[in-house]
């Protein structure tokens, strides 16, 4: 492209952004609102996944060891279990540790334990599973295998809880595609219509440019660049609003509700989700302009 044409396109974009500032603000604002809703969905979905991952980390199999087993045997037992392909971690909980933990769990009501012997609770192995095996079938398989190991008297795992969690993970996956797809389509339609209206307002300009012999590319490029600027501005505004919403919710959500696993907190959108929103804004702005121009640009 000749330098004079590049300069022409640049001047047209600057002039339009300056003179039609409110049209651009309105279009970017609509894009921001729509992308905010879509981004809000991504934020909820991402945190829900994080929450489920956190809950998944809490899935453990408890293997109670026989009374009177020697520390060397416990260590060898732990090594044996650690070698299972599904197992991520094995921690030995002695009788004394189990007692202390139980007492702590009872809190102010720990007085009820008075008179009881501290070695009443059995020692155990707390077995954490690999991420891919935090599901009912794998957990049951590991439990089954542990039951046949010499030195282990009993095996327990939260089977009912596992069923609910599996169902919840499945629900979130479906919601991601159905609700996400629906919101994505709504975003496309709303932004597309907004851009179309903005271009309709400049129909005369397009017609006159064509009458004086402007090549189609020279008419389209400034509109597409303006669309990109609007899209990126809209996406940036949406991200800013989402950040404020995130800060508000994080501040307002009391830890005492116990929704989040210990040590976890709400997360803002990750880099890929932020990139997706900005890319979506860019694409909708540029693509929407190009698509709308097809309607007003006479072709031969």
């Amino acid at each position: 492209m000749k330098l004079s044409r590049i300069s022409f396109v640049f001047r047209r974009v600057v002039k339009s952004l300056r003179e039609l500032v409110w049209t651009h603000v309105l279009t970017s604002g609509t894009m921001a609102m729509t992308l905010f809703i879509f981004g809000g969905f991504l934020l909820v979905q991402q945190n829900l996944h994080g929450l489920l991952r956190g809950w998944g980390r809490q899935i453990q199999v408890f293997a109670y060891v026989d009374n009177g087993i020697s520390p060397a045997d416990v260590e060898s037992l732990a090594e044996q279990v650690r070698a299972y392909p599904e197992v991520e971690s094995v921690r030995f909980v002695s009788k004394a540790e189990a007692w202390e933990s139980f007492k702590k769990g009872l809190g102010s009501q720990s007085g009820v334990l008075e008179g009881l012997s501290p070695d009443i609770l059995p020692a155990s192995l707390e077995i954490g599973l690999q991420k891919a095996h935090r599901q009912r079938a794998s957990v049951a398989l590991v439990a089954q295998r542990l039951r046949g190991v010499k030195g282990i008297s009993e095996v327990e795992y939260p089977d009912e809880w596992l069923d609910k969690l599996s169902l919840l993970v499945l629900g979130v996956q479906w919601a991601k595609w159905i609700l996400g797809g629906f919101l994505f389509l709504a975003t496309l339609l709303i932004v597309g219509s907004t851009v179309k209206l903005a271009i309709l307002a400049r129909k005369e300009e397009i017609e006159i440019m064509q009458l004086v012999g402007a090549p189609a590319g020279l008419i389209k490029v400034p509109f597409v660049i303006e669309g990109m600027v609007q899209g990126i501005a809209g996406a940036s505004l949406a991200l800013l609003l989402l950040w404020l919403l995130y800060l508000f919710v994080r501040h307002q959500l009391p830890a005492s509700l116990g929704i989040l696993p210990p040590g976890d907190q709400l997360q803002f959108l990750d880099a890929s989700a932020i990139s997706l929103l900005v890319f979506l804004g860019w694409l909708l702005g540029a693509g929407g302009s190009l698509f709308s121009l097809r309607r007003f640009l006479k072709t031969w």
Binding site: Q210, V212, W300
Partner: protein, 228 residues
């Protein structure tokens, strides 16, 4: 300069606007296309700047067949023409100077050169003090002069004007016609569509008459300068 061979234009479903038009216009000629409203004058002009495509026949402009052209071809054709309309068709958010320079810039002329040419033309057309004015603040006659300056900025081979005096009072119409004559004197071919027979009497040039889409008279065959 212009050759039309058996040109017809039919709008769907079956409304003939032009039927079997034969017309030759020489380089440097000044020609009026006359006829009542709906006679096909504007359609003829629209075929020449390829806003419309002929349903039948062939159209040659400056030695080039323009009957079938693609997008870039239409753009190139229009860059070589000067177009003037009854309703001026200026961009209201641009100054007179910018409106004129725009037509030069879209053909690839530098900004500096486009503005220099636009400024020169506006001064020549008596709009020396109005180059920064936006069209809505100008009178009808002034707006038409800006439109004429825009039509001339690329040194066109042919100027096509569709009812250029239609929105002007008698005095302004006269002045605008004198501008066209001045342009014609420099060798530019001019074709003006008008229903105003008074103009034809005052400015003696070739007249072609259209009625219901058919070419019914041509003063060239009856002797130049006479109104058929």
């Amino acid at each position: 300069m212009i050759k039309l061979f058996r040109v017809s234009k039919v709008y769907p479903p079956n409304n003939p606007a032009l039927t079997d038009i034969h017309l030759h216009v020489e380089k440097g000629e000044f020609i009026f296309i006359n006829g009542p409203s709906g006679a096909g004058k504007s359609t003829l002009l629209r075929l020449l700047f390829r806003e419309e495509e002929a349903s039948e026949g062939q159209i040659i402009v400056n030695g080039r067949n323009i009957t079938r052209l693609n997008g870039p071809g239409v753009a190139r054709l229009r860059q070589a023409l000067g177009l003037v309309f009854q309703e001026y068709r200026l961009l209201p958010n641009m100054s007179a100077l910018e409106n004129v320079a725009l037509a030069a810039e879209v053909v690839g002329m530098s900004r500096k050169e486009s503005r220099r040419r636009a400024f020169h033309l506006l001064r020549e057309l008596g709009l020396k003090d109005k180059h920064d004015a936006r069209p809505p603040t100008l009178s009808g006659g002034e707006q038409q002069r800006v439109a004429i300056a825009r039509a001339l900025v690329n040194d066109p081979i042919l100027v096509l004007a569709d009812e250029p005096t239609g929105n002007l009072d008698a005095e302004m119409a006269e002045e605008t016609m004198r501008l066209f004559l001045k342009i014609h004197e420099k060798g530019t071919t001019i074709m003006i569509a008008t229903h105003d027979t008074g103009l034809l009497r005052r400015f003696k040039h070739r007249v072609v008459v259209l009625q219901r889409g058919r070419l019914t008279a041509d003063s060239k065959s009856a002797g130049a300068g006479t109104v058929p």
